[in-house]
């Protein structure tokens, strides 16, 4: 696995890689708390070995796979992706992992499979955010993709970033990275991947369906009800320079546009 299929931003002078320290200390991972620094401070105790992933639903090869078994048949690749958070900040992060399509192909979806549903670990004793009584998220955290979205070559399962094993606060040991969608779609610490017939209800849509949809494609023309999505703050920034830049359709990954041809993206936000 010495050969890399590196996917990098077309203009790296604009999309400079975010420093490791920032990408690993400023996270939304509500299983560990809602403050941006909570995941880095509290995720260290999460046990990520051994780790198994349940593959089930409309597949011919269901089963519980160890992380090693899940990863081994494919060659690790590096992808340097822009990450656009729905909160209007963004980073550029190098990931290590495999295309999601590899895993789905091996699971061998039946003709009934139309969506992929993902689930995060539930382990309150190691995830203090899950102990909170006033948390609106009904654990486990759930995300989903349409099958053709999941099969797109850009959809990625990461086990590492910055050339090393994924830090816990970034979703160790296995997380999704869907660079043309808002960050919350890129579910962390995955324990279950199910091929399903019906569109899954993702966690944020469940909490506030007027604010967060199923598709959650990065779209500068469709605002969040509480803030504009036309621009983003590229992090790190400094006090007197918010580093604001225009947000691009599909976060600049225009090659996914054909997945949505004919769809009203204002309705399917």
């Amino acid at each position: 696995n010495a050969a890399w299929d590196a996917v990098v931003p077309e203009d790296q002078s604009v999309d400079k890689t975010t420093p490791f320290k920032d990408a690993t200390s400023y996270n939304n991972f509500f299983e560990f708390g809602t403050d941006k620094s909570d995941p880095a401070n509290r995720a260290g105790q999460l046990t990520t070995e051994p780790w198994t992933v349940m593959i089930d639903g409309e597949v011919n090869n269901p089963g519980k796979l160890s992380l090693e078994a899940l990863m081994t048949p494919s060659r690790l690749e590096e992808r340097i992706y822009r990450l656009r958070c729905v909160e209007a900040w963004s980073m550029v992060i190098p990931w290590l992992g495999i295309p999601l399509a590899d895993v789905i192909r091996r699971a061998d979806p039946t003709g009934e499979a139309r969506y992929v549903r993902f689930e995060t670990l539930v382990r309150p004793e190691e995830m203090p955010g899950q102990q909170s009584r006033f948390n609106l998220i009904d654990w486990p955290y759930v995300e989903g993709l349409r099958l053709d979205e999941a099969m797109h070559p850009l959809a990625f399962l990461a086990v590492g970033n910055y050339g090393r094993v994924l830090p816990n606060q970034n979703g160790a040991p296995l997380r999704l990275v869907v660079p043309w969608k808002y960050g919350f779609k890129s579910i962390k610490s995955i324990v279950r991947i199910s091929l399903v017939r019906d569109q899954p209800l993702n966690s944020w849509q469940k909490i506030a369906s007027s604010e967060y949809g199923f598709y959650a494609n990065v779209n500068p023309n469709v605002d969040h009800p509480r803030w504009s999505q036309a621009t983003e703050r590229r992090l790190p920034n400094s006090l007197f320079n918010p580093n604001r830049m225009d947000t691009r359709m599909f976060n600049g990954y225009e090659e996914v546009a054909s997945l949505y041809s004919g769809m009203d993206l204002r309705k399917h936000f």
Binding site: P19, T34, K36, M91, F134, N135, W227, S228
Partner: protein, 206 residues
């Protein structure tokens, strides 16, 4: 406990305590320990600090009823002004650090984010109180001064609404502050507030 020197020392200590968050956060930003978005760090810190000081200000009247200690009434104006000061820093952080003084974005934000309007209304309330927190204004307003400063209750409600609107998934922190606010308000119900002095006596506080 009530000698002029003790009371002076107390006021100076309160002043320093109220100033210390600003000093601490500024140092963190200067040392690059405030994360990749220092403006947001200050914004959230200042906002939370304004709320905490506002709650502390509202605890002074019940505390002085309970203890009759002069020190509590003596710092009321100071704390109220500190709450206004941090609220002003909160708004300034938003305008300068987040918007980069791009006022076209401000107008969009105001139209879309009701909590911006609610926050600004709360700040106007604090401003009115800050401007009338001097002897001259108290003399001019006379009997109207007290009812005017009851606007603080409205400000507290607006601040909590502003905060509520920002929370996305975990209500724990907000619930804590809201509970403190409800407790402080219920201590103002006549049935309870008139009993505070005798309760203080029984507890040996006065």
């Amino acid at each position: 406990m009530s000698s002029p020197r003790v009371l002076l020392l107390w006021r100076v200590l309160v002043f320093m305590a109220a100033l210390s968050p600003l000093v601490y956060w500024s140092t963190q930003v200067a040392l690059q320990q405030a994360g990749p978005e220092p403006g947001k760090y200050l914004l959230l810190g200042f906002g939370l600090c304004a709320l905490v000081i506002l709650l502390l200000t509202l605890s002074l009247t019940p505390l002085s009823k309970l203890t009759r200690w002069k020190g509590f009434t003596l710092i009321r104006r100071q704390l109220g002004l500190w709450a206004f000061f941090y609220a002003l820093l909160h708004l300034s952080s938003y305008l300068v650090f987040i918007l980069g003084l791009d006022f076209s974005v401000l107008l969009q934000d105001i139209a879309r984010r009701p909590y911006v309007i609610v926050g600004m209304l709360a700040l106007v309330g604090l401003l009115v109180m800050a401007l009338t927190s001097n002897r001259w204004a108290m003399r001019r307003l006379g009997k109207r001064w007290k009812p005017l400063h009851k606007v603080v209750y409205l400000v507290l409600a607006l601040v909590l609404l502003h905060f509520f609107w920002v929370v996305r998934a975990d209500m724990t922190d907000w619930a804590g502050y809201a509970l403190a606010a409800v407790a402080l308000m219920s201590l103002r119900l006549p049935a309870i507030s008139t009993r505070l002095p005798s309760l203080g006596k029984r507890l040996g506080l006065r």
